[in-house]
Amino acid sequence: MTRKLAAEKVSAWYGPKKAIEDISLDFEEHATTAIIGPSGCGKSTLIRCLNRLHETVPKARVEGKVLLDDKDVYADDPVAVRRRVGMVFQKANPFPTMSVYDNVAAALRLNGVRDRGKLDKIVKRSLEQAALWDEVKDYLGKPGVSLSGGQQQRLCIARALAAEPEVLLMDEPCSALDPIATAKIEDLIFDLKKDYTVVIVTHNMQQAARVADTTAFMYLGHLIEVGGTRELFERPRETLTESYITGRFG
C-alpha cells in the first residue's frame, strides 16, 4: 500500500480558537480511512483542511502540510487541489436550481466540457458509481432537490465523482439519513475504494467498523490513536480510545 494523502503537523484555528493541533496522519491509496470521535473533536475540521476548504471560512487559518502524492497542497492552487480531492457533506446540498443531470455535470462544465456525448457518458457513469442511475435514469431533467434525502446524498456523491477526483472526503455523509439509505451509502463507500482513496468522518462507530480499513480516533482536537479498524476496535492501545469505543463517554 502506498500513501496517497498525508497530514503533517496540521493545526487549524477559527479566529483565536484552535480546533485541531499538530495532527499527522497518513491515508492509504485505495483504502477507506475513518475518523471517529465525539462532537467537536475537530474531525470535520481536519478533513476540511485536506481539500483547503477550512480556509474559506472567515478568520480561519491552517498551519502544517497536507501532502497529496507527496506534494504540499498548501503550496498549490486551492482550486486545483479541490479538483483532485472531492467532498461530500453532512447535509445533502444539491444545487436547487439545477436538474439531476446538471448537478452531476456541474464540475465538468466548470472544467469547460461542452461536448454533449462526453457529458452524457460521465453523468451516466457517475450516477452508476453512486448507485443512483437505475432510480433516476428516467428523471434526469427533474430538479435535483425533488429526490428523496438518501437519493440527494447519492446525487451529491455522483456530483463529486463526476469531477474525477483521486480522493473522496466524506463528512458524516449519513448523519441525516434513515438506516436503509445509510446502508446503500455504506455499500457504495465499500465499492468506491477500488478506484478512490476515501476518507470518512463519522460519529457512528459501527459505520467506521463496517466501511473502514483504517480508523483514527480524535479527541479535543488531538489525534489520539490510529490503526487498522479491527485492531483499533478490538485492542485499543490508549485508554481514551477504549473509553470512547466502549461508550463510557462521547
Binding site: L53, T56, N93, Q152
Partner: protein
C-alpha cells in the same frame, strides 16, 4: 409616587380585568388606525376613478393607445407618457441593475467585515436622499456631463442605432434614465444583498469542493440560488423607477411626444402629472385625463410592487427551501 390617574383607573391599569375602558379604547384606537390605512388606499382609488370618469367615458381604452395631448381640442392620450415611463425605467434597469448586483456581490460575498458595515450604511443613506436633490444634482452635474461627453461618444460609437441618432438635447430621455438608474441602486443592491446573504453556506462549499473558483461558486451556487430574490429586487427597482417623479421631471425635458431618439426630450406618466396637474379646471376633460394617468400609474406601480414583494418574500421566507 405621582400617579396621574384617579384611583379606579390606576387599579384598572395595574390589574386589568379584561373589560377596562382604557384597554378597550386603546384597542379601538389602534384598530381604527390600522383600518384607516386600508380605507385610505380604497378612497384614493375611488376618488381617482371618479375624477377620471369623464376621460374614460370620452376615450375608453383608446386613451392608452393615443398620442394626442391637446387641451384646446380636448384630445388626450397616454401613449407618449407610457412610452417615456417604460423607456426611462428600462434605461434605469439596464444601467442600474448590473451596478447594484456588483455592489451586492461585493458586500455579501467579497468584502471583509470592516468594509461591509460602513458600505451597507452608505447604501441605505443613499436611499434616504430626497429625490429633488437627485434632480438638482442631475441638472447641474449630470446634464452637462452627459451632454458634453457621454451622449456624443454614444452617438459616435453606436450612431447606427435609431435610439442614438438626432439632435442631442440637454434634457432628455437618456439623462432621465441615468438619474433613475442611480436612484434605484440603493433599493436593488440592498434587497439583492439580503438575497445573497440568505444563500446557505453549504451551497458555496458545494461549488468550491468541485473545484470552482470564487467567481464560479458565486455564479453557479450563489446567484442561481438567489435568483428569484434578485428578480424581486429588480422588480422593486422597476417599481421605484416607474413612479419616480421629481428628479425625472427636472431632467427629462417635458415634451409630450414619442421620439425614437433617446437624446430627445420626453415625458413620463409622473412628470406630465407634476407639470400639468394645475392646468385642468375642475370637471374638465383635461383634468379627467390627468387623473386617469395617475390611476394608470398607481395601478401599474401597485402591481409591480405587489409582485416584487411577493418574489422577495417567497425567496427570503424559505431559506432552506433547496433541501426540502
Amino acid at each position: 409616587m405621582v400617579f396621574p390617574f384617579r384611583r379606579g383607573t390606576r387599579r384598572a391599569l395595574l390589574h386589568p380585568t379584561g373589560s377596562s375602558w382604557g384597554d378597550l379604547l386603546f384597542r379601538a384606537g389602534s384598530g381604527a388606525a390600522g383600518f384607516a390605512i386600508l380605507a385610505l388606499l380604497a378612497l384614493l382609488a375611488v376618488v381617482l376613478a371618479i375624477n377620471a370618469l369623464p376621460s374614460f367615458r370620452a376615450f375608453g381604452f383608446g386613451f392608452l393607445g393615443s398620442t394626442a395631448w391637446n387641451p384646446v381640442r380636448d384630445e388626450f392620450g397616454a401613449l407618449p407618457f407610457i412610452y417615456g415611463t417604460l423607456i426611462t425605467s428600462a434605461i434605469a434597469l439596464l444601467l442600474g441593475v448590473p451596478v447594484s448586483l456588483g455592489i451586492a456581490i461585493f458586500v455579501a460575498e467579497l468584502s471583509p467585515g470592516s468594509i461591509r458595515v460602513p458600505l451597507t450604511y452608505v447604501i441605505e443613506l443613499l436611499a434616504a436622499v430626497p429625490s429633488v436633490v437627485y434632480g438638482l444634482w442631475g441638472l447641474f452635474v449630470l446634464v452637462p456631463l452627459i451632454t458634453t461627453y457621454v451622449s456624443p461618444a454614444l452617438q459616435g460609437a453606436l450612431g447606427f442605432l435609431p435610439i442614438f441618432q438626432g439632435q442631442i438635447y440637454d434634457r432628455n430621455l437618456f439623462t432621465a434614465g441615468v438619474i433613475l438608474a442611480i436612484m434605484i441602486i440603493p433599493t436593488v443592491s440592498a434587497v439583492s444583498r439580503d438575497a445573497l446573504l440568505a444563500v446557505p453556506q453549504h451551497q458555496r462549499e458545494a461549488a468550491l469542493s468541485l473545484g470552482a473558483t470564487r467567481w464560479e461558486s458565486i455564479r453557479i451556487a450563489v446567484l442561481s440560488y438567489a435568483r428569484s430574490g434578485i428578480f424581486g429586487a429588480v422588480m422593486l427597482g422597476f417599481g421605484r423607477a416607474f413612479g419616480e417623479t421629481m428628479a425625472v421631471t427636472m431632467v427629462i425635458g417635458n415634451r409630450n411626444a414619442i421620439s425614437a431618439s433617446w437624446f430627445a426630450p420626453a415625458q413620463t406618466l409622473s412628470s406630465i402629472i407634476a407639470n400639468s396637474a394645475r392646468e385642468g379646471a375642475a370637471g374638465s376633460l383635461e383634468l379627467g385625463a390627468i387623473v386617469e394617468l395617475g390611476l394608470v400609474l398607481m395601478l401599474v406601480a401597485f402591481l409591480i410592487n405587489v409582485f416584487a414583494r411577493f418574489m422577495v418574500w417567497r425567496f427570503l421566507g424559505k431559506r432552506e427551501g433547496g433541501l426540502e
